[in-house]
């Protein structure tokens, strides 16, 4: 995995609470067996008319937001289904971070596995960013995972919490699978001391 470095990016606002993963990527696009290529269907049902033409009034279709890489959303972003296709679609569409006051648990995990930063901020910061993005599409923020700071256009630094281990992995480009594999001895020891309860291979 590519290490996540500090970056600056334009923000775009979707001030809607409880954006669920069915909106982020509708289920009919989950028949793929690939994780690439989902970006074009990000928010598909909000973004396109029934005949597939882009809806001019949808914020991500506006040319002025075409280069946004930080999505500022309402509360409780990513609730609902566990589909990792949601962060895949966001990454595929060029997003590197999502700002909200809260994230659904599984979405947060999935985002961190894919280098998409869930930036949890207070409501005031969230509202300020929403106003800024709506006023000026060129509004840029800086994100530094190392120091866990989000720098607003007025120079104010806002901290964001992030699981320390996930942060370590992201900064160093380590993936969690590799780490778990390195614990083979511990896993084996646990198995030795806990006999299996079921055997799915035994014909029932």
């Amino acid at each position: 995995m590519e290490p996540v470095t500090a970056f600056s990016g334009q923000i775009v606002a979707m001030p809607i609470n409880d954006i669920d993963t069915d909106q982020i990527i509708p289920a009919r696009f989950l028949k793929t067996t690939d994780s690439a290529g989902l970006g074009k269907n990000l928010f598909a049902d909000w973004r396109y008319e029934v005949d597939g033409t882009p809806r001019a009034d949808f914020v991500l279709n506006q040319p002025r937001h075409a280069h946004a890489t930080v999505l500022v959303a309402g509360d409780n972003f990513g609730c609902g289904s566990s589909r990792e296709h949601a962060p895949w679609a966001l990454r595929g569409a060029g997003f590197r971070a999502v700002v909200s006051t809260s994230f659904a648990d599984i979405f947060r995990n999935n985002a961190l596995q894919n280098g998409l930063l869930p930036l949890q901020v207070d409501e005031e910061t969230q509202q300020q960013l929403i106003s800024l993005a709506q006023e000026d599409a060129g509004t840029t923020v800086a994100v530094d995972l190392e120091t866990q700071t989000l720098t607003l256009p007025d120079g104010r630094d806002v901290g964001f919490p992030i699981d320390g281990f996930a942060r370590h992995c992201l900064l160093n480009g380590i993936d969690q699978l590799g780490f778990l594999q390195s614990l083979e001895d511990d896993i084996f020891a646990w198995e030795e001391s806990h006999p299996a309860r079921v055997n799915t291979l035994a014909s029932a």
Binding site: K31, G80, Q181, L183, W190, V198, L201, A202
Partner: protein
């Protein structure tokens, strides 16, 4: 939390503590062992790709089970008894599942085979889901299995890869939340109404970061299938998992199932399960209390499962909400649903009634729906689909003649699968259509692009199918209790 029993422990604490491969160390969270990994076709392909790319094996195929459920058709079999898959992408996805299971030696419940069904129906049905286990699946409704006193939660596809390769997961310890439902349910009020009321109370983010333990007399009096309905929708309240402490009901349900322990192993297992309920004096980070006697049939009016109310209530008015974002959210939801503030939903005409999904597709759900349907007809204006949760549920229902009840009423009796719960397989609402659905999500477009869902119990669904409009089952003449 101590592991030496000094401090009283909850059910969750006991299951968590007994699966710690490595406690938090050097900044890394707990490494948790996973007893059972359930796999389906939609959230696994990319995980197997990772394994192939790295030349890894599945560590414990004997703790893994795959089924086909999400993108599978539920249309009747052809003359050869085969369920055809006309959608090329779905067919390709199922083929990938087959190949992955074959290459990695994972047992697979093939489409249409004896034991195939929705992943959260087959685990309990086979006796694989047992108290005290850790169970995961790339599926948020894995919380269902918590009804047995297991710690069961949904994971993403990267984590599916972690479990396939190492049978372990890195996990932050979640908080604990008690939801106690005291008293007794009234006639016509079911497990589904309990959980819809809980979610309306705590909100769809109310359980975030927590594992809920359901307790109290009303939960204890539910059968296992009702408890599964409750735990199933824990995720709709944002919770990581839902659990119910095992008791005689749990043990009776498991006894004799294909993968249940037998003989001496059974006795030892039961003795261990009896130790799982929380210790006297165990505390929770949060507590919510409801009185079952106050509950009535519930229905949702909006576009998330937290937007629910008593079926006799009126749609809330956004202008009466203090919070601006909450007002906007409700405005948006009512606009999508085509509903007016202050409107009663009773008598609201519906186009489709769906009985199915991992929330309400088990035999007791079908029996409840059939009890209402028997000798009655589905309204001409309504399409009703009854989709059993598994092939085994289907056979059982047919043995009891429930299929005949549904068919005689004019409902469609389908093959097993997720079907219109997620609308990936061609079973879907048309834009603008209204449905009463026993499934778990009423998100925009969840049951078909532009479709509008009212979530409710199987009793409410059946009553509404007959009347062609949203109906309080308690208002139907005859037996409903």
């Amino acid at each position: 939390m101590s592991e030496n029993g000094q401090r009283p422990r909850t059910l969750f604490d006991k299951v968590w503590d007994s699966h710690v491969v490595r406690p938090p160390a050097n900044g890394a969270p707990t490494v948790l062992y996973i007893d059972l990994h359930l796999v389906h076709e939609v959230t696994s392909p990319q995980a197997f790709t990772t394994l192939r790319e790295r030349g890894l094996k599945v560590r414990r195929p004997d703790r893994t089970l795959a089924t086909m459920d999400h993108s599978t058709p539920t249309t009747p079999r052809n003359e050869l008894g085969i369920i055809l898959v006309p959608d090329a992408m779905a067919a390709a996805q199922l083929e990938v599942m087959r190949r992955n299971c074959e290459d990695f030696d994972i047992p697979l419940y093939e489409l249409g085979s004896e034991n195939q069904g929705i992943v959260h129906v087959i685990g309990p049905e086979q006796g694989l889901t047992q108290p005290g286990m850790t169970i995961v699946c790339g599926d948020s409704h894995t919380s269902t299995h918590g009804a047995f006193g297991a710690l069961a939660f949904g994971i993403g596809t990267s984590e599916v890869g972690h479990v396939l390769a190492t049978q372990s997961l890195l996990q932050e310890r979640p908080g604990s939340m008690a939801v106690r439902v005291d008293g007794r349910l009234q006639a016509g009020v079911t497990a589904k109404d309990i959980i819809l009321a809980v979610i309306a109370e705590i909100g769809i983010g109310g359980g975030t970061g927590h594992v809920i333990e359901y307790m109290g007399e009303a939960i204890r009096s539910l059968g296992m299938e009702g408890r599964m309905t409750v735990c199933n929708m824990s995720i709709e309240g944002g919770a990581r998992a839902g659990m119910v402490a095992p008791d005689d009901t749990t043990i009776d349900y498991i006894n004799g199932r294909p993968y249940a322990p037998r003989g001496e192993t059974w006795d030892a297992a039961v003795a261990a399960w009896r130790q799982l309920p929380g210790d006297e004096g165990a505390t929770y980070d949060r507590e919510v209390v409801l009185d079952a006697a106050d509950l009535t049939p519930m229905i949702t009016y909006g576009t998330n499962p937290g937007m629910g109310m008593r079926i006799t209530e009126r749609v809330p008015d956004p202008d009466r909400l203090g919070d601006l974002t909450a007002k906007l959210a409700l405005d948006k939801a009512l606009n999508y649903m085509g509903l007016q503030p202050g409107q009663s939903l009773l008598g609201k005409a519906v186009d489709v009634v769906f009985v199915g999904s991992c929330t309400n597709s088990r035999i007791s759900d079908l029996r409840e729906a059939a009890r209402i349907m028997r000798g009655r007809k589905v309204a001409d204006s309504v399409r009703m689909m009854v989709v059993p949760g598994s092939q085994q549920v289907k056979r059982q229902a047919e043995a009891e003649g429930l299929d005949e009840v549904f068919r005689a009423a004019g409902a469609e009796w389908r093959e097993a699968g997720c079907s219109m719960c997620i609308a990936m397989n061609g079973d879907q609402l048309q834009p603008g259509q209204y449905a009463v659905s026993t499934s778990n999500r009423n998100f925009e477009g969840r049951q078909g692009k532009g479709g509008r869902s009212f979530l409710a119990s199987p009793l409410t669904a059946a009553a509404s199918a007959i009347k062609g409009a949203i109906t309080d089952v308690r208002s139907l003449q005859g037996e409903h209790a």
